[in-house]
Assembly symmetry: C2
Homo-oligomer: 506 residues x 2
């Protein structure tokens, strides 16, 4: 068997990254397109990953004082119109409900009961939540309001892509209202920090925190902060955003309160969200040519037992031995939580089972055959090593060894992603190098081709538009953690207040 | 202060039960109507109850082998039409998406981009999930499929009522596919059992398990099973349903598989669901004239500490003492879980704070003032006793006493609800008594007026229709746990195979 054939995913990353991405999803049985244009079906393994994301983030939101609530799916057209930039930003991608029943006319089922005012399926909930906050808030004593909702939203997509861009997607949206500008700004920054920590510590994805330029701002926001990840084709993915909305939405929705000084003032609001897009980011960051690779902290299960039951005469002994070990591992704590263990006894052939779990990205596979039983050991495979590389572990060492490996993997995956991003992030000092960097055929330095470019910029939208038209490259953010270093815009020679982050993006 | 004035909710249950219900929701700050007709906003305390319901049920579903997944919000019109009874059942209450963007025409924002096929916002997901199962299932080896989804659904409501009947509601819907009729039927019964146990053991709501008559069946089902609860106005609420769908939806969606014998066969499917309606049922079952009363197992928190901070000179001592006790209670386990404790130091007056928590239904309130500090005790109030009835508890006994009370409350609330239902369930042997039972002004026996009636019935839809028209009374179910006892229909004198359960219902 040639090296080539050994990979489970075809094409491989180098050959065709977008197609490889689709195939990883299919091989791991995460999701599929439905017959409803742009809407996906999230299958159990994909959903289990999203459930882990929800559970962990929800805990982080609650630890920062937020509570969950739920607001209507439908937004009256008139609400959406209250904020001019907002409606302009979303008008082109709204699913609109116009009727409230069906009836048979001329033998055909057709919409009936036309609504006097059409309803929009929420693309985001600033306006409908704003209307509620306007009812709830009277005095500074009612502030802050710190609420999050887990919900589905719809933005009609012309070029859908599983997880990354779907017409319906699932997300959380935090919506907060504050007494002062300062408080609202601090909240905006705080939640960006939560997203960064979550991405880093759980998804093992290093992200760059920063601020969007005006042209990439959320429609209606005063400032939009974001976290940007680099995936393995060196493109950027916006993995989460946190918006400082100023008083824009408070004015649009009439969120006013009696201040401590007895004056009627508009509240300061924020909103922030991450979505099922995180699952796509996770896949593109860590997966390899054998399929998904899951960081142990986010994997629905950390370990799968694969008893080898081919020999009839010792089948029951192997099974019993494996079950005892699996149950003991289920009582083992890793990072304060019991290890989640799958036990796969399906009769579909050892090779098939093994490959299925490789493609699903489970961190550790434990094979147990008659010989392991004799040796009082197991054969362990880890997903962050080549799939044939095995390790014999004596059963008395198994719990400890599993914990060690899980910790190593979690750290190792983050480190690998950090190194990858570091290797493909370059300071670029002139226009020619910039164009070379983003144009494969022109490149004189192929070894530093593509990725994140840090370059000076004069702050002009025109330059952004030009670059986007020429190279499909955009400013991903003005990074927070760069030491401000004045310079000259590499495109115009005009003064720049600091480097910004450029990349092609999903 | 008169006895009357002491109740927090006006009107009281006896005066106007439906209005009392609305006022309990408002007083506990659970939910409110939005400006979108029939859609509610679920506020944080209401959502926290739903979150508890989700968490516990989700565990029960997983323990019975189910996994979660997620299917599209939108259903193509053509899918809905595949099952004739199904589309007829839902056509009158469908929100229909006809356009996918908005544009300004004559200065007015209007729907644009008309869809070639309208999309229905899911009222339930049999058809869209059926289409997926048809893709996934090829062989008997692919069966059973045991999937649940947590989702929002929309059924246009002409007379909405918070939690009980809303245009958008939240629910879980289980959808399973099986190789045999027997297996599918067992699943249908199993999940009804899960619902019954959940209602009884967590919500402290005793329910009657049974089967719906043909006229009350889910559109497209072969058999519909249900759990029925009695609330305090002696009406019934259908709290959950489990449908045996036979091969109806498999035929409609083309869910076929190669059998063990190599034949192509249709799968047998089930579906089952409970919704945010459970929150309404919970409110109507247990609340009193002071507001919500929550069973400890479902309450988002079990205990609230209310330090009395009015005396400036010992404020910090009281606070410190109360915090120490609260933290120690937070580390106390009740039924294997840490007790959830609220700590309310808001400066809104002790009486206001106390009443707020009474109305929110928290099981135990603990007041701590300077005198408690002197006595090394606390003053404890429980929600299932009159609000003034207090109990001094020495601090060394506090954890144990709290656990005792929580267990007592959980059991006591179920027992009280069982006794109430028992008291208001009557065997009725003739038509006159039946009409009297359900007609207040005619009643000659007011002490047994209203509630559940067990009466013989000939099995005819015509009789059901007549009774519904005359009395607004319907057959809630054919109870499972009644010993079959042949008799004569009390309306027609015709043979009956057993008594059925009649009631007015929400």
């Amino acid at each position: 068997m040639s090296q080539k054939e050994e990979n489970a995913i075809s094409p491989c990353r180098e050959e065709d990254f977008p197609e490889w991405y689709q195939q990883v999803i299919r091989a791991a049985d995460l999701a599929e397109n439905s017959e409803v244009r742009g809407c996906m079906v999230i299958k159990p393994w994909g959903w289990a990953i999203w459930e882990r994301i929800q559970l962990i983030l929800d805990g982080m939101f609650k630890a920062t004082g937020h509570r969950n609530a739920y607001f209507p799916l439908f937004i009256p057209l008139s609400y959406l119109q209250k904020e001019a930039e907002h409606v302009e930003g979303f008008a082109k991608e709204c699913a609109v409900v116009t009727h409230h029943r069906l009836e048979v006319r001329d033998g055909k089922l057709v919409p009936a009961g036309e609504l006097s005012e059409p309803l929009v399926v929420r693309p985001t909930s600033e306006t409908i939540i704003g209307a509620a906050y306007a009812r709830w808030i009277n005095s500074y004593r009612d502030l802050p309001i710190l609420i999050n909702q887990w919900a589905n939203v719809v933005r009609w997509e012309m070029r859908p892509r599983l997880f990354l861009r779907t017409a319906e997607f699932l997300w959380q949206e935090g919506h907060t209202a504050h007494e002062t500008e300062q408080e609202a700004w601090e909240e905006t920054v705080r939640m960006l920090g939560v997203y960064e920590r979550f991405a880093r510590d759980y998804l093992a994805i290093p992200v760059i925190k920063g601020e969007k330029t005006e042209s990439e701002r959320f429609p209606g926001a005063v400032r939009t902060l974001c976290i940007e990840a680099m995936v393995q084709d060196r493109k950027a993915i916006q993995a989460g955003t946190s918006h400082f909305l100023g008083q824009n939405f408070a004015k649009a929705s009439g969120i006013r309160f009696q201040s401590r000084e007895g004056k009627l003032e508009y509240a300061w609001t924020t909103s922030w969200g991450v979505s099922t897009r995180l699952v796509g980011t996770l896949i593109m960051t860590h997966s390899d040519d054998d399929g998904l690779v899951l960081p142990p902290r986010i994997s629905p299960s950390q370990v799968v037992f694969l008893p080898i039951l081919t020999k009839e005469n010792c089948r029951s002994q192997v099974l019993e031995y494996a079950e005892r070990l699996a149950n003991s591992l289920r009582e083992t704590y890793w990072e304060g939580q019991k290890i989640s263990v799958e036990f796969d006894t399906r009769d579909i052939g050892g090779g098939n089972k093994n490959w299925e779990w490789i493609k699903k990205g489970i961190p550790i596979r434990i094979e147990i055959g008659p010989r392991d039983l004799e040796n009082l050991s197991v054969t362990l495979y880890r997903r962050d090593r080549p799939h044939r590389k095995k390790e014999a572990v004596l059963i008395q060492n198994l719990p400890q060894r599993v914990c060690e490996i899980l910790s190593e993997m979690q750290q190792g995956m983050l480190q690998r992603a950090q190194e990858f991003r570091c290797k493909h992030t370059h300071i670029i000092e002139n226009k020619k190098d910039f164009y070379d960097f983003f144009t494969p055929l022109n490149s004189e330095k192929p070894e530093i081709h593509g990725g994140f470019a840090l370059a000076h910029w004069n702050g002009s939208v025109n330059v952004e538009t030009q670059i986007k038209n020429d190279l499909k490259v955009t400013i991903r953010c003005i990074p927070f953690d760069l030491i401000p270093e004045p310079g000259k815009c590499i495109f115009t020679g005009e003064p720049s207040r600091g480097r910004v982050l450029w990349a092609k993006a999903y």
